[in-house]
């Protein structure tokens, strides 16, 4: 097993991506609210529609993706920003997509829940657990072609009660697919707590129903996630099949922007914010002797990249209306 505490380059990169992801969400927040005030109206402003922020869940994304190559496929959910960033999705095109611009990843057709970047094999979806099948498929394609790339499907703990979860874990195990299923357990599906809708305390225990390893990672800890993911991914690359990793993480914001969060117990948000993984991780890195200068540099790089991306998105043109009719079908055929 990798000893994360000594694996400095990864840890600084992980920290940088955590900060980049948070900066990205922090840049989204005011932009999203433009035109939606005083009366919040989701249809208005430069970024309409639902907006699911990933604040607090950064460790899951960076700890797993630190092990991945561009050719390794990742499928994410309706809450995709942190994962997209950790996987190396083009930040400018991603921001532009969220602003519905011509220069966006899909020219504004997809929006924030439908980010596709084939250059780094990233995709996400607005349907719970929908990405799990495609991850198994990407893994099987690699296996059939005989290369050692893998696929990772990220889901929330709420998705672990969807039928697709069962079908894809079973299929992946039967076919010995090099795929890793990662559950970001932020303990809520919108307003419904995991305890109120899940028959087991730890979804990792469900791995036994598919004869695959199930790993439970506590405390939203980037290094522990890095280690667990490292083993599971190495295992998959060795042809030893799928794994399930369940990560205890935290959702610091509402389910989507505008969520009143009345369903949260008194003081929960404050408690979670007090354990914000970003300052916690920075403190640990400093304690482990990583220089403040290096960490400050990482933060600066992250901030600048996000600043550039949002500038690019804002400056970009909206797509011409006729673009609505393009790419419904891919032209041509294999002759």
């Amino acid at each position: 097993m990798t000893d994360a505490s000594t694996n400095r380059p990864h840890r600084i990169l992980m920290y940088e991506n955590m900060v980049k992801s948070r900066c990205f969400e922090d840049a989204i927040k005011p932009a999203y609210l433009e035109g939606k005030q005083p009366l919040f109206n989701m249809a208005k402003g430069p970024i309409p529609g639902e907006m699911h922020l990933s604040d607090g869940q950064e460790p899951c994304a960076v700890g797993v993706c630190a092990h991945l190559r561009p050719e390794d496929a990742v499928t994410a959910t309706h809450r995709p920003h942190h994962i997209a960033i950790a996987k190396g999705v083009d930040l400018n095109a991603m921001a532009a997509e969220i602003f519905g611009k011509k220069t966006g990843l899909s020219g504004g057709r997809g929006g924030h829940m439908h980010l596709f970047d084939p250059a780094v094999n990233f995709a996400c979806s607005g349907i719970i657990a929908q990405g799990m099948g495609p991850a198994v498929g990407a893994a099987m394609a690699a296996k059939l072609r005989g290369d050692d790339s893998v696929a990772v499907a990220f889901i929330g703990e709420g998705a672990a009660n969807q039928g697709a979860f069962h079908e894809t874990l079973n299929l992946a195990a039967v076919w010995n697919a090099p795929v890793i299923f990662v559950i970001e357990d932020n303990s809520y599906g919108i307003s419904v707590s995991k305890a109120d809708c899940t028959a087991v305390a730890h979804n990792a225990d469900r791995a036994a129903a598919y004869g695959m390893p199930g790993i439970h990672v506590e405390n939203n800890d980037p290094d522990a996630i890095y280690d667990a993911a490292g083993e599971a991914i190495a295992r998959a690359r060795r042809g030893e099949g799928p794994s399930l990793i369940e990560i205890e993480t935290t959702r610091l914001e509402g389910h989507f922007m505008g969520d009143a969060e009345a369903y949260r117990p008194e003081g929960e948000v404050e408690r979670l914010r007090a354990a914000d993984p970003i300052p916690v991780y920075r403190a640990r890195l400093e304690a482990d002797g990583i220089s403040r200068a290096d960490l400050d540099a990482a933060e600066t790089d992250a901030r600048e990249a996000v600043g550039q991306a949002f500038a690019f998105a804002r400056e970009s043109e909206l797509p011409p209306p006729d673009d609505a009719f393009a790419t419904v079908f891919t032209e041509g055929s294999r002759r």
């Binding site: 009366l39 919040f40 109206n41 989701m42 249809a43 208005k44 970024i47 309409p48 529609g49 639902e50 519905g100 611009k101 966006g104 020219g107 504004g108 057709r109 997809g110 929006g111 924030h112 829940m113 439908h114 979806s125 607005g126 349907i127 719970i128 657990a129 709420g158 998705a159 009660n161 969807q162 039928g163 697709a164 599906g189 919108i190 307003s191 419904v192 109120d196 809708c197 899940t198 505008g258 009345a262 369903y263 909206l318 797509p319 011409p320 209306p321 006729d322 673009d323 609505a324 009719f325 419904v328």
Partner: protein
């Protein structure tokens, strides 16, 4: 009280919640299940207050297991309860359609009527607010096409309450589609015409009957949900020009009230149908086919305004270009009116 009642205006969300609450008070067999319908009161407000009023036994948040809880509702209905379940967005039908169209909708027939399925499936439809291709669909025809279920969609709060009471009391599965652009949630913006006076009293709106919202003689405009309001706006603009448009709200998609449509076009000789579901094999096409196969003499070719056969794009620059609206309806009416009486 009655004075206040008469003038009391509600949103569709509140009208749905009131109908549910009144029926739950009246009928102990009614219960409500779905994602985020209890503690949260429904993402779209249509179950607000029910948990406090009726408790967690009758108002149940579910796991994200649509096949599981809809199938469960069918079993409850067969056992004599009257479950009202929510499918948060109609776009999600793909994960649970078997329990709806192959199970709930066929239970009466497969049992020769000896087992019934009195249940309501509430589901939100429609776009226009930038929620993209998996959260903005209507899919009216997807449900209307398959036998054994009734499908209704209110265009006003008044209709929402009356249709909901009828739906819960119906002995069959009823798909109750509510349109997000009409729902009256502040955060979604709302068509003002959908917010109407709603009596506190108990009343039903018959399922299976279209509603002639305004009578006219020159052209028939057919809409449902959001497009009904576009049709009304178009009709208004023509009234000023002295053109008399008859506007029909389908209200029920299945069973479709063909008689009312045919009678209207017999009178007007012109037809424009508008809906925001996909065009091919869709609602407006069925309206046109039903009128034409009846041999109704037409003064102009019938027209339809529907959502084109493309996924719903996210960017407002794209979505609003392809969504039906009153301008598109007006353009179609203009074309129809150009045709004289030949």
């Amino acid at each position: 009280m009655t004075a206040q009642t008469a003038t009391r205006k509600l949103t569709i969300a509140k009208a749905m919640a009131e109908a549910l609450s009144q029926e739950m008070a009246r009928d102990p067999d009614v219960l409500v299940m779905g994602e985020d319908i209890a503690k949260l009161g429904g993402v779209f407000g249509n179950t607000a207050g029910l948990l406090d009023a009726f408790g967690p036994e009758r108002v149940r948040d579910t796991p994200i297991s649509e096949t599981g809880f809809i199938g469960t509702a069918v079993g409850m209905a067969a056992a004599g309860m009257r479950p009202v379940v929510e499918l948060m967005f109609v776009d999600f039908f793909g994960v649970c359609m078997d329990a709806i169209y192959n199970l709930a909708a066929k239970q009466s027939y497969f049992s020769g009527g000896s087992v019934t399925c009195p249940m309501v499936l509430m589901t939100s439809v429609g776009g226009g607010y930038g929620d993209a291709g998996q959260h903005s669909q209507c899919l009216y025809a997807t449900f209307g096409h398959l036998p054994g279920m009734k499908v209704v969609i209110p265009s006003t709060a008044y209709d929402a309450k009356g249709l909901m009471l009828s739906a819960i009391r119906d002995e069959n599965p009823v798909i109750f589609m509510y349109h997000k652009a009409l729902q009256g949630m502040g955060w979604l913006g709302t068509e003002p015409g959908a917010i109407t006076p709603v009596p506190e009293k108990d009343y039903e709106i018959p399922i299976g009957e279209a509603h002639i919202v305004c009578e006219g003689s020159d052209i028939t405009l057919v809409g449902l949900g959001a497009t009904l309001h576009h049709c009304l706006a178009a009709a208004k603009s023509y009234a000023e020009k002295g053109v008399s448009a008859e506007v029909i709200d389908l209200r029920t998609i299945a069973p479709l009230d063909r008689q009312t449509l045919i009678a209207s076009v017999r009178k007007t000789g012109r037809l424009v149908a508008a809906d925001d579901d996909y065009l091919s094999y869709g609602v407006s096409g069925e309206v046109i086919a039903s009128v034409c196969e009846a041999g109704v003499p037409m003064r102009a070719p019938p027209e339809r305004i529907s959502f084109p056969d493309i996924p719903i794009p996210f960017s407002p620059a794209l979505e609003h270009f392809v969504l039906p609206n009153s301008d598109k309806i007006t353009a179609a009416v203009d074309r129809a009116l150009e045709h004289g009486d030949d």
